[in-house]
Symmetry: C2
Subunit: 640 residues, 2 copies
């Protein structure tokens, strides 16, 4: 069973002096903060061109506007009008969801898209308010100040939260901390969105049933209890209208799925619902029949709100908390969406630059009576399908909103609340992704658990706690991974110089007298005890099985380090301990193929001197040959 | 420059059906919770023997006591008496440090060692109280209840904290959560111990100067301020005596370093200081000269304290917090020390079993008027040097303590406080490990930072915050590691089938038309964006450099996955995105050597079907050969 090939040529291992601390730090920082090498385009240009390119890099409008032409504009105009028709009903609806005056929702679709058009790097992203963050804001700020008892203070705190969101997003972008958002995994977002959609749908039952009293809590149990305990307020007229609207909206969605070309039908459907609702309310005097209307929408563009920001220490913790959490959620949604559409068209979106754009957008928004905006999925998809070419579509939308604010706003005051509820519910149905959850269940049970914790936490406890539990679980998994890197025993693949996991390739043979172990990465303080115990267990098991087979004893252990990208001091100390423990059992240790950073650390810590340079090999083949030679010599010596 | 060897024989890749969820979960749980396979000794035994072995496993005294003999006892007797002579002065000193009646310190060296002797698996560990935890308890409980104004309640809360420590330690042991303690890295412990030793030393200036009023805070600034602001209380007599004692103690330590055989001199030195101090205080009526004495030590063994445990919700948070934090610190110290002495004698200590022993020890302790005990370094080292053979040394120490408690305790009431301060300070000097910190600085700057954060946090903020900051930083590093796994470009080593990092082995050659990238592990949601951007950057850089050299364009990319131990859904989705992005650039992707768990996930998620089985290779060599064949065919086709 022995692999009887010729010994492979021996190639020397590189023991060059480690890089200096400065070089290593620079390289680490670059990988951590600038993995996409954002400045590569203008690093090697002459100074004048470099400045121009740098400005274009930080303010992308300077890049695309000079090249802009009428052909692009035709597409952008159409797309902009389409998303504006979506922005009006959504703006009013989500503002109601956030317990804000509906006009704030319209304001929020005017200024922020203009800011994004200047600083944003995605071509397809359409700016707007989102349901999840709207509810998140209302649930966090609502704990401190009631939107009904003190709407003025509540509004000020929402602007303050938006201000903090903007500051945090811009700061994270400048500090290149996009890495933080990466810790919101797809599974967390799927569960969070599903849970949020569920509770938002349930909350909309208030509007559908035309109820006047309700709970401010967001969890399923409180909401259901509120709906049932106030059942004397239910109005059948409202429910009938709501169900008709909902069926219509769902039908247009179904149509879009069947015939993707008809996407515009579902895109303008909410606007149609609002217009029909307004007409119905106006002519049928719906309010007298228990169908409430929005009421009171003033003409005029965004008033300044800089002076409304409230930093009173008494209330400050709520807007800070709301600002932080919504900043992450909004970034995760906005960046993920920008990226996924960029992949469709094979472009790249710089997450950190997007953060700066989002940050500016919300910062300026908080000064101009807007609340939190990001890149919502539905709007962006409509924008993309409508064929938008550049961020000009956002400008067109903003101009449409300007027109609306200046002339049309009062017309929308007749919008029935039940129409808004139907619009929100219909949007939410699309966010509960059963099939994705099922796929997670099929492919990765732990990811499914992370998703379900977010879903159940959001639905039954609260949105922020559900989100944090899920993120905590995901981080726990990442830590567990670091704490338990997989090791495996390698065997020789017949007729080759390859060594592979014998569990995976049962045809791989063990080598007499030698045990080859591949170590997982990293070798780090949280896993050092594990690695030591695991290696000793491999040796124990191997000795027991070879004893049972009456095979030869283990004389050499080869530790394959090719997959280990990192090792710390504790890791090196552990390797030395393993060395000593095995030497005490009469087993020699050699290491194979340490990578650059590992080798540096092994040299700096003098591990290489402890184990001896002759026991460091470039390939398993070389190491096995050397060990065989030793074993043969030993046998000759014993025979002699 | 092309490596013109014969094509290597192609070995098929294993596409076997993935293991069932149950099998994979069982294997994961085993690696996570039972990495050392603790039951291997009695798994294959007959039932009767298995029961016996299991009892011996859980209660180690049944294993060593039957084999015990007089020869062992000679050594253990000597070691036991030596550590008892250390236990008396240390017990009194550390109890004072915890603001407890000194007799509690003596009680704590009587019952817990007996419990440990039954359940503990380390032969060398000597049980006792420790300075860091004593101060930690006093600083946390002292925030809630003043030990001077309400000593009775304070004492009850300390017992309650000990109770929680015991519960937590035992529970962690039963649940096999030793993994949690692994997250306290050596660097954190070095910094924490150094910082603690610093503030303890400063606090002892109170005793050395014979001051009566002092601060309850532990940070350097408060302590220094307290010393200076109460300078009218300074007594020179006390200071002179203190310095004499300190010089004596330091001299014996110096002696031990020079002549390790004389370790017993430094071991009994504290006892000598206490006895001389007592005699001096008794005959010189020291109290009249400003030298305070301990006072009031009653005869008699530990009274029961079960009824003293206080679970009043008003105070409960302090003992719970103190219990939790000290549980971790005590475990980290105790287990690390047990392990390091076990390595010296080539034995193994089961961390989880030790936790159970520590837990029982503190649980029983909290019922018998003891406070927190663990395995202190100094005492264990003395025990080891004195030649102890089994846990019997702890029993001998307990019997000595019993004798002391029954007959001698009142004699120690004359111990001058200044003598205790000198003993504590001398012990603390040894815990500030400058050389270790310097070594960290030389070898790993980030580990040094973790260490310094613990040191400065403990010294200038508070012990628990310093500890948590340092642990947080260490975890952040682990997360950063997961978020930024190193990738590298591989080149072909001349005259071999090896492919290695071209940065590490500059002699390795690139392959025309093919780019080989080795991915780091794991491929996980926090690093998916990074991996995608990094790979696209490799391609961009490579295309630019090949263009500059007028070399051939990249037609194939090989992703070497041999070092990747784990991939999640987001990771697979990212690989698919990379596939699409590169295909759009006209580049074909192949993957090489996915390991067992990665392959399973790739099969379950149908990634293998997307990329095609013909694009999965067992070795880079095979993959390169296949790509070359493709390239050649392409060229022939173009030429034709």
């Amino acid at each position: 069973m022995i692999n009887s090939r010729e010994p492979s040529p021996v190639h020397p291992v590189n023991f060059a002096a480690p890089r200096s601390f400065g070089t290593a730090l620079k390289s680490d920082l670059k990988e951590t903060l600038f993995p996409d090498d954002p400045f590569h385009e203008f690093r090697n240009e002459p100074p004048s061109k470099r400045t121009k390119k740098a400005i274009q890099y930080f303010v992308p409008i300077f890049e695309w506007l000079p090249k802009y032409n009428l052909r692009f504009f035709k597409y952008d105009l159409l797309a902009g009008i389409t998303i504006a028709s979506l922005a009006i009903p959504q703006g009013i609806s989500y503002a109601k969801l956030a317990n804000l005056p509906p006009i704030i929702g319209l304001y929020s679709s005017f200024v922020p898209p203009l800011v994004y058009a200047v600083f944003g790097s995605s071509k397809h992203l359409a700016v707007g308010t989102v349901a999840a963050c709207s509810l998140l804001i209302s649930s966090i700020i609502g704990e401190t100040v009631s939107p009904i008892d003190d709407p003025d203070l509540y509004l000020r705190l929402v602007f303050t939260a938006t201000f903090f969101t903007g500051i945090l997003q811009a700061a994270m972008g400048f500090l290149r901390l996009g890495i933080v958002v990466d810790f919101l995994s797809h599974s967390t977002i799927t569960g969070f969105m599903g849970g949020t959609a569920t509770i938002i749908c349930l909350q909309q039952l208030k509007g559908v049933f035309g109820m006047k009293h309700f709970t401010t809590k967001t969890d399923v149990v409180s909401v259901l209890r509120a709906i049932i305990s106030h059942r004397h307020e239910w109005r059948w007229e409202s429910a009938v209208v709501g169900i008709i609207f909902l069926v219509f909206l769902q039908f247009t969605r179904y149509l879009k799925q069947k015939k993707p070309k008809l996407f515009w039908v579902s895109a303008i459907a909410p606007m149609v619902v609002v217009i029909i609702g307004c007409l119905f309310a106006y002519f049928a005097h719906a309010e007298k029949h228990g169908i409430q209307i929005v009421g009171d929408l003033k003409k005029g563009i965004n008033p300044p709100s800089l002076k409304l920001l409230n930093f009173d220490p008494k209330y400050i913790s709520a807007p800070i908390r709301a600002g932080l959490i919504t900043a992450f959620v909004a970034l995760a949604e906005g960046i993920a969406i920008g990226r996924s559409f960029a992949i469709l068209t094979n472009e790249q979106v710089d997450g950190n630059k997007e953060m700066i754009a989002f940050g500016f957008m919300n910062l300026v928004g908080s000064f101009t009576s807007c609340y939190l905006t990001t890149g919502p999925f539905s709007k962006t998809a409509v924008n993309f399908n409508a064929g938008c070419k550049t961020a000009m579509a956002n400008v067109v939308m903003a101009i449409c909103m300007l027109f609306t604010l200046l002339f049309l706003a009062p017309l929308f005051s007749y919008t029935p609340l039940v129409a808004l509820s139907a619009i929100i519910m219909s949007a939410m149905f699309g966010l509960i992704e059963y099939d994705k959850a099922y796929r997670l269940f099929k492919t990765d049970k732990y990811d499914f658990l992370i998703c379900m914790v977010a879903f159940i936490g959001v639905a039954f406890i609260s949105m922020d706690i559900g989100l944090m539990m899920s993120v905590g679980l995901a981080i726990l998994r990442a830590l567990l991974y670091v704490a338990r890197p997989a090791t495996c025993k390698l065997g020789s693949i017949p007729n080759s110089s390859l060594y592979r996991d014998i569990e995976q390739y049962p045809e791989a043979n063990g080598i007499p007298g030698i045990l080859v172990l591949q170590l997982g990465s990293p070798i780090y303080f949280p896993n050092c005890n594990y690695i030591r115990e695991r290696i000793l267990r491999w040796v124990r098991d191997e000795q027991a099985s070879r004893e049972a087979d009456q095979g030869s004893d283990i004389e050499h252990i080869l530790l394959e380090l090719g997959g280990v990208t990192c090792i710390d001091i504790t890791g090196v100390e552990t390797l030395i301990e393993i060395l000593k423990a095995l030497e005490a059992k009469g087993i020699k240790v050699a290491i194979v193929n340490p990578r650059l950073e590992v080798m540096e650390k092994l040299i700096v810590t003098k591990f290489v001197d402890v184990i001896g340079k002759q026991n460091v090999f470039l390939s398993i083949d070389n190491a096995v040959d050397a060990c065989r030679f030793n074993l043969k010599r030993l046998k000759q010596f014993q025979d002699a």
